[in-house]
């Protein structure tokens, strides 16, 4: 079946630094969604992309359907960015729902 490989599984960042999360897809996907799970377990929508890049504050995401990957960049990391980030891919038959990655646990340290 469709697979989403998310890396790294865990990431430690000092405040003010940045890094990137990546999701590779085993097949071409129609769109990608990125979430952060907060301390209450809520999935917070970060981005929904069908192509190109989107930016929101210190977060930026890119999606390349043809090359089968998506990235999420965090810059100038803050303590409140800590949490688990998930990518989820939407197949061309989008009625089949989202296929999730395993998540990246991000820890930001002072």
């Amino acid at each position: 079946g469709d697979q989403v490989e998310q890396s790294p599984s865990a990431l430690s960042l000092h405040e003010g630094t940045g890094s990137a999360l990546r999701c590779n897809f085993t097949t071409t996907m129609r769109a990608v969604q990125w979430f952060r799970k907060n301390s209450r377990g809520s999935l917070i929508n970060l981005f929904y992309l069908a192509s190109g890049t989107k930016e929101n504050g210190r977060l930026k995401s890119a999606f390349d359907s043809k090359e089968r990957y998506s990235t999420l960049h965090i810059r100038d990391a803050q303590l409140e960015d800590s949490g688990t980030y998930f990518c989820a891919a939407e197949a061309h038959n989008y009625a089949q729902g989202l296929t999730f990655g395993l998540g990246t646990r991000v820890s930001v340290f002072p």
Partner: protein, 114 residues
């Protein structure tokens, strides 16, 4: 902003009994979904529901599972009878349309089958 509400956050039930998980979706949304996440594993799609019908379901959506949204009220997932392997967190999601809008997810209901 709009929210998808799932109450209660945790349900404990004895194996073999019936359980109904309730979801209060965003009021004007038309598409409804259930996902299942077993501890330590990926969240997985169960079912997509629209206009009173199941549009798509995965192989995880066993015969013991059923969904409905009677009279536009709660969107429910019923499991009858429950099995130990049904223990998981179940997430409800809703969206206004498909293909160009991200669904909104609830906080999940943890189901523990004993």
């Amino acid at each position: 902003g709009p929210k998808v509400l799932q109450i209660p956050s945790h349900q404990i039930i004895d194996m073999g009994q019936m359980v109904t998980l309730n979801c209060d979706p965003v009021s004007n949304h038309l598409y409804f979904y259930w996902y299942k996440q077993i501890l330590g594993q990926q969240m997985e799609f169960l079912v997509n529901f629209y206009n009173g019908k199941v549009m798509e379901k995965s192989k995880l959506f066993k015969d013991q599972f059923s969904v409905e949204r009677p009279d536009g009220s709660y969107f429910t997932l019923k499991i009858q009878p429950t099995a130990l392997e049904d223990s998981a967190v179940y997430f409800c999601a809703s969206s206004l349309n498909q293909g160009d809008q991200a669904p909104l997810f609830g906080e999940g209901t943890r189901l523990s089958v004993l």
